[in-house]
Symmetry: C2
Subunit: 488 residues, 2 copies
């Protein structure tokens, strides 16, 4: 089973080149805050420098809110430059923008270069510790910035960052008045979401582009397996797919299939309505372009694989500049840190994934939890805690929380683990037709479908509501001394 | 400055003897749950056995709720036997009773006898870790007990246990539908509650008993100081107060005064309307009895101190069986663990205390934070985190939480750090006239004042409301599949 990654970071790079020209618009000051390595126990007094970025160009001290991005698995500068929605709406709200880097990513490494060397350091990489970092930082910013003490705070995040935004509002509602959680698969955990969801959605999107396309992919695995069985066939596959390193054994063939499988998921995540750069540039609606090569599912053998290659080429070589295909990577996105996410997947972000080849277009593969545990123990000396997230954050039982928007793109495979129905008047689900992975957090674009324009409007209206509510609460606290016995 | 303790444990023992005759009524089964030592980081996979007690004699599987006591700083059996309110109302609600022991207390020692030996063990004593223990335990009980999966859960606690109950509902509302937080000084933290509150309330209660009484106490310190200045005077003091160990220097005199100061606070906490056993038995309304000896504030010198001694004698020697006074202890209450609470006071339960001799009847003493930090570092290798609790739990900014009753006795010195005004329709403050420290959590008594009877009625009606609300939410979740995309 392919280990799937939360991919906001990688998705963000899609637009990295495009943003160079806007770099002036995304200017910020860089700060560091001294954080405790361990917020919840007291035997370790180590601290580290957490990086955060601030733009207060639009902010007004008389009540301007703070829009706070809860950084996820990557370099925070990259998220800052790729969450255009926050920048787009800051002037209207007179908001200060803060982007906080997640511990163990970017330069916010609690133990510097040693951070990933040993579980005794790496053990402090957890969502709970990261949320406490954000809490301390918000508390500090509000206390130390003249005029910010009574500012309302709205947290934003996409993908894992969206989970963090939602969880932050859930656990620290006194520090965040509302949360925009975009494409946050908060339900993608054992016993809550079926393991096949992700790959079924990938397949559904390919099938919607054309049934022949999904059928061609489904058919391709047997062809690859047959060719992969012989030395001659493996050479043929290697040549056909212009592989940098020829396939020399079963294991290579296995990895090759994983690489393809992962690509189908990735392109579904970034199936955006406008051209974008993801490693290599991608066209608008890249799945349609890929599927334009897969219109004839009656093809067999090498002829079919030639078409699969052409589809693959759309993703990995749209510019025609790629000399050979490297099955060792999906992405050269420098700012996404797979190391960290692999660790988090092993400890608490346990997200079962499987395929059955019937409801999806992939080879059948069960979720092999014992194998998963063994790998985590071997790789990191970590034993997974599969129910940790449900115990901490409630799974679907979140009616008692408030002021969170969960937005999901219908085209996004991660939507399978998202909250897709509102559960109360303040825990709101938004579905974005024609939306892939957190399209709504991106800067507005002329090619945006009406659904994402509407989603952003809804988000803005809730943000306004939450800010008004926070001001009312603030006034209430001021006018009602809550601790009235004391004189001194 | 006297180090004041949260005292529910000690208060509970007041009735320990009385309860022997009711022991059948307080019967339970004892269980142990395997808890992670560290819930929030991943380098330590140690576990320990958390003790919890269950009585399901009144529980019905078809919707009976779980009443869960969030254990505080002491042996959980002692809390179970001294929280009569839960036992009193269990039949009416058909409730299961669960009493969970707090880590590092009773027999729930994460590292056995070594638990208190080194900060590397003791570092795991924190409210956050204890709350996560409770979360895991409730999750486990609901999953593993046939018929309990959909049971609503109400958490109860008094004093520090009340803080934990409130905080548990705040952080884990998916696991607790409401909280009864009795005499929980959730605001007794730096920058929120003035340091003089506690001792002002003690003084107010003595003054209300009789102004001469408070004036006599206030006057006594100078007399003690004058006598304490000379060898002869110290011998006189030692004799007058029947001290087991004579005062031999300034430091002894200082400790003697602390011992008296602490006693005045303790008797204010247990100033109950009926006789009770606290170390030695106490009469009903013990402050009135003490003050019956302090009716003439015109007395001077030794004559005044003789009266102070008689008042002291009410507290430490009401039966006349005490041979001499031990200034080294306030309480022989075996089940209250001062060791643990001292540690918690140093790490995160930083509660400033001071006196000014004007608004209180004590010698002036500032809150000496630098000295406090130094002591914590020397004694435990712990550096206090004075704002930890505010960052985590919001201080007075808790309007966005719900379903908590904060009850406080007007006679209770800890009420100064309690939430005394409702902040919303579901964060409710109850003031109990004539109530000392969490009187409402105690079993009903013919001498109960109307205010505590009314408080318990209010609590019961909110518990009913929370249970109905939880059932509605449960039905909503059942009828609305929240994750509807999936088929498998």
């Amino acid at each position: 089973m392919v280990k799937l990654k939360l991919w906001i970071g990688a998705v963000a790079t899609v637009f990295a080149l495009g943003f160079i020209k806007f770099s002036d618009a995304y200017s910020y000051d860089t700060y560091y805050y001294t954080q405790k390595v361990d917020h919840f126990s007291f035997h370790n007094n180590d601290t580290y420098q957490q990086r955060y970025l601030v733009n207060d160009g639009s902010w007004t001290q008389d009540g301007g809110p703070i829009f706070f991005y809860t950084g996820n698995e990557g370099d925070i500068e990259w998220f800052a430059k790729n969450t255009g929605f926050m920048w787009d709406i800051a002037p209207q709200f007179k908001a200060m923008l803060v982007f906080a880097e997640h511990r163990f990513y970017g330069v916010s490494l609690p133990y510097g270069n040693k951070s990933y060397e040993d579980i005794k350091y790496l053990g402090y990489l957890s969502a709970e510790q990261a949320l406490a970092d954000f809490a301390e930082l918000i508390y500090y910013i509000k206390k130390s910035t003249p005029g910010a003490e009574n500012s309302s705070v709205i947290v934003f995040g996409g993908s894992y960052g969206g989970m963090l935004a939602a969880w932050f509002r859930m656990k620290y509602p006194h520090l965040a008045d509302g949360a925009i959680a975009a494409s946050a698969p908060v339900l993608q955990f054992p016993g809550i979401t079926a393991c096949g969801a992700y790959n079924q959605i990938v397949s559904r999107v390919f099938n919607a582009s054309s049934p022949q396309c999904a059928a061609s992919v489904r058919k391709s695995w047997d062809v690859i397996n047959t060719m992969g069985n012989t030395t001659e066939g493996r050479a043929q596959l290697s040549s056909l797919f212009r592989l940098c390193a020829p396939l020399s054994n079963d294991s290579d063939v296995h990895n090759f299939k994983d690489w393809l499988t992962e690509m189908y998921g990735d392109v579904a995540m970034v199936n955006y309505p406008y051209p974008a750069n993801f490693l290599e540039p991608l066209p608008a609606w890249p799945i349609n372009v890929m599927c334009s090569h897969l219109t004839d599912s009656s093809l067999e053998g090498e002829e079919l694989l030639e078409k699969i290659f052409q589809a693959t080429n759309v993703y990995f070589n749209y510019t025609g500049q790629t000399e050979c295909m490297d099955t060792g990577t999906q992405s050269t996105a420098g700012s996404l840190d797979d190391r960290g996410w692999d660790v988090q997947s092993c400890s608490e972000m346990v997200m079962p994934m499987c395929t059955d080849g019937v409801r999806d277009m992939f080879e059948p593969a069960d979720w092999d939890y014992p194998q998963f545990v063994e790998d985590c123990q071997n790789n990191y000396n970590i034993t997974p805690r599969p129910h940790q997230i449900e115990v901490l954050f409630g799974g679907t039982n979140i009616q008692q929380y408030s002021n969170i928007i969960f937005s999901n793109g219908v085209l996004d495979p991660w939507s399978g683990g998202g909250l897709l129905k509102s559960v109360s008047s303040s825990i709101i689900a938004i579905l974005i037709d024609q939306g892939a992975h957190h399209l709504d957090l991106r800067s507005s674009n002329p090619a945006d479908p009406p659904s994402v324009i509407a989603a952003r409007e809804t988000e803005k209206s809730y943000i306004s509501k939450w800010i008004r509510q926070a001001r009312r609460n603030q006034k209430y606290r001021e006018s009602h001394k809550l601790n009235p016995i004391l004189i001194d």
